[in-house]
C-alpha cells in the first residue's frame, strides 16, 4: 500500500515537473495518473496556445479549407453533430463518426479502431487522410515554414528557426492533451459540493451496475476495445480493430468512447448510426447476446431496461455534461492573434 502511494507521488512529481504552471493542463482531484508521457513533450502556455492556433487553422489541409475544428467542434465535446460520419476536404464523407476529444491524457490508444498508440503521432492521421485534410506532411511543413507568423510562433516555443515534424506534432498534442472535462454535476457530487436528485441517484446505481465496467469512472471509458453488439455495415465496411491487426478475432472491436458530455456529442457509435441517447439505451436493452458480437462485460444485461430505468439512466448521463468545458474560452478559436 505504501509502495503504491509512493509510486503515485513519484509519478505526480514527474507530471508536475513537465507541465509549466501556466499551462491549462491539470490532474483533477481523485483522478488516476495520466498515461501521456509529459517528459517527452513538456507543456507550456506558449506551446498550448500555438497548438490551439494550429487546431483552428485550415492551413494544415491540402487546399487550406479544413481545420481540425471543422470536425471537432468545442460545444459538442470536440466532435461534430451534423452528420453520422465526418466529412472533410471537397465535401468527401468518411466512414466514421468524429471521436470526441476529451481527457485524452488518460488514454493510450486512439481512433475508433485503436490503431494509433500515442497522442503525439495522432494528428498525422487527419492531415494525411484523403477524406479529411488530404495533405502530405512535407506540404504542411512547407506551408508553415513559408509563414512568417508561424515561423515566429514556433521559434518562440521551440527555439528553432525551422519547423520540423516533431515540433508540429507535439505542439498539436499540447493542445489536445489539455482538453480536460472534469467539472460536471457528477464531479461536483463526487467532491461533495452538490447532490444528485433521486432520479439521478437511481440512474447512477444502474450505471454502476450495468455500464461502469466499460465506461469506467472517472473517465467514463476504460479506453479499451470492445464489441457492443452492433451489426457490420456492409456499405461502410468497417470491421474496427480487425483492420489494424488483420485478425478475425478482432472484428467489430471498437474503442469505448467517453460518456462525458454525451448529451451534446451526438450522433453515437463509431459510425454515428444513432442520433439520440434513447436509441443507444434501447440498443443495450435489446442487445442480442451472440458471443461473437458482444464483449463479455455486456452479459450483465440479462433483461431490457424498463422505461423508468431508461429515464433514470438518461438523467444520470446528463450529469456528465460540463458546460465549463464546452464553452471554455481557453479552448475556443483564438481571436485577434494576427
Amino acid at each position: 500500500m505504501i509502495e503504491k502511494f509512493l509510486v503515485s507521488i513519484f509519478l505526480s512529481l514527474l507530471v508536475w515537473r513537465s507541465v509549466d504552471e501556466t499551462s491549462p493542463f491539470y490532474i483533477p482531484e481523485g483522478w488516476p495518473e495520466p498515461s501521456y508521457y509529459f517528459e517527452g513533450n513538456p507543456l507550456s502556455r506558449a506551446k498550448f496556445e500555438l497548438g490551439r492556433s494550429l487546431f483552428y487553422d485550415p492551413i494544415l489541409s491540402r487546399d487550406s479549407t479544413i481545420s481540425c475544428a471543422s470536425c471537432h467542434v468545442q460545444f459538442s465535446g470536440f466532435t461534430h453533430v451534423d452528420h453520422p460520419q465526418a466529412h472533410g476536404i471537397d465535401g468527401l464523407v468518411g466512414t466514421r463518426n468524429a471521436p470526441a476529444l476529451i481527457n485524452l491524457a488518460w488514454l493510450d490508444q486512439f481512433n475508433w479502431d485503436g490503431g494509433v498508440a500515442n497522442l503525439n503521432g495522432h494528428s498525422i492521421n487527419p492531415i494525411t487522410n484523403p477524406k479529411e485534410m488530404d495533405n502530405s506532411m512535407e506540404d504542411v511543413l512547407k506551408k508553415l515554414n513559408n509563414s512568417p507568423y508561424y515561423k515566429r510562433r514556433f521559434q518562440e516555443v521551440w527555439g528553432d528557426s525551422v519547423i520540423y515534424t516533431p515540433y508540429l506534432l507535439k505542439t498539436m498534442a499540447a493542445f489536445t492533451v489539455s482538453l480536460i472535462s472534469a467539472n460536471s454535476k457528477y464531479d461536483q457530487v463526487q467532491l461533495g459540493k452538490e447532490q444528485f436528485t433521486e432520479q439521478e441517484t437511481r440512474g447512477y446505481k444502474l450505471f454502476q451496475k450495468f455500464c461502469n465496467s466499460c465506461h469506467t469512472e472517472p473517465l467514463f471509458t476504460s479506453g479499451q476495445l470492445k464489441r457492443n453488439g452492433l451489426s457490420y455495415d456492409s456499405e461502410l465496411k468497417d470491421s474496427g480493430h480487425k483492420m489494424i491487426s488483420g485478425k478475425n478475432k478482432d472484428s467489430l472491436l471498437f474503442k469505448v468512447p467517453t460518456l462525458r458530455n454525451i448529451e451534446f456529442s451526438y450522433p453515437y457509435m463509431h459510425d454515428g448510426r444513432m442520433k439520440k441517447l434513447k436509441e443507444v439505451l434501447q440498443h443495450y436493452s435489446n442487445i442480442p447476446m451472440i458471443k461473437s458480437k458482444v464483449s463479455k462485460e455486456l452479459k450483465v444485461l440479462k433483461k431490457p431496461f424498463s422505461d423508468h430505468e431508461q429515464k433514470d439512466l438518461l438523467a444520470f448521463l446528463k450529469t456528465l455534461s460540463d458546460k465549463s468545458f464546452l464553452y471554455n474560452k481557453e479552448f475556443m478559436f483564438p481571436k485577434n492573434e494576427r
Partner: protein, 215 residues
C-alpha cells in the same frame, strides 16, 4: 541478370569508414525509370526504400554502434552511404536489423530518418514501413501496372524486422532481390499490392532477410 541490394564497407583507414548501400540489378546499379527484365515481364522502380536499424560494427575487442536508424532511398544518393568513425581497430563483423526495431515504432521520435515526411510512416497504425517498393510491371494485376509493396509490422505475430550479421572479410554485402521475382516469391500479376502488416508482408520480409549475403 541479377537484382542485388548491396552494402559496401570501404575502410579508408583504421579510424574512419563509409558504409554504402546500393540497390543493384545484377551488376548494374538500380536507377529510377530504367527498365529491368525478369522471366517474361519487365519492371521499372519508382520508389525503393529500406530501413536498417541499430547498426553495429564489431572488432576483436569491442562492439561499436555506428547508427540507430538508416533510411536508404534509391533516389537520394546521399542516403546510400553512412560515414562513421571507428575505434582504432580493424572491424570484423557488422550487425544490423533489416527494418526498425519495435522501439522506434513506439517512441515516436519523428526526427531525421524517422520523420514521416519520408513516406515510410503508417499513421493509421502507428508504425513504420520497413521496406517499400513501388514499381510498374507490364503484367501486374492492377489497372495501370502499378505495384505497391509496403512491408512492415512490429506487433506479434506480424513482426517483420530481422537481425542480420556479416563477417567483414570483404567490403560488400548483398541482398539479392531477383529470387523474389524469379522464384515466384512475388507475383505482381497475382498480387500487385501489399500495404498492410500480415502474413504476406511477414513472408516477403523473411525471404528478403535470408537473402542478405556476403559477396
Amino acid at each position: 541478370m541479377r537484382f542485388f541490394f548491396v552494402i559496401i564497407l570501404v575502410i579508408s583507414n583504421v579510424v574512419s569508414a563509409q558504409l554504402t548501400f546500393e540497390f543493384r540489378w545484377g551488376e548494374q546499379k538500380i536507377i529510377p525509370e530504367k527498365t529491368y527484365y525478369y522471366k517474361s515481364d519487365s519492371i521499372q522502380f519508382e520508389e525503393l526504400k529500406a530501413y536498417l536499424s541499430d547498426i553495429y560494427i564489431e572488432s576483436q575487442e569491442r562492439r561499436q554502434k555506428i547508427a540507430d536508424v538508416w533510411l536508404i532511398n534509391f533516389e537520394d544518393a546521399l542516403s546510400t552511404s553512412l560515414n562513421t568513425t571507428l575505434e582504432d581497430e580493424f572491424p570484423r563483423t557488422v550487425f544490423f536489423n533489416f527494418g526498425l526495431d519495435s522501439l522506434y515504432h513506439v517512441n515516436m521520435d519523428y526526427t531525421g530518418d524517422l520523420d514521416p515526411v519520408h513516406g515510410m510512416y503508417w499513421a493509421w497504425n502507428t508504425g513504420y514501413i520497413n521496406f517499400k517498393m513501388v514499381a510498374r510491371c507490364s503484367n501486374a494485376a492492377s489497372k495501370n501496372g502499378r505495384v505497391d509493396y509496403h512491408l512492415g509490422g512490429y506487433l506479434k505475430p506480424n513482426q517483420t524486422t530481422h537481425p542480420i550479421e556479416f563477417k567483414m572479410r570483404s567490403s560488400t554485402i548483398l541482398l539479392d532481390l531477383l529470387p523474389l521475382f524469379d522464384k515466384d516469391i512475388i507475383r505482381p500479376e497475382v498480387i500487385s499490392s501489399i500495404v498492410l502488416p500480415g502474413k504476406e508482408a511477414n513472408r516477403l520480409m523473411k525471404f528478403l532477410s535470408n537473402t542478405f549475403r556476403h559477396d
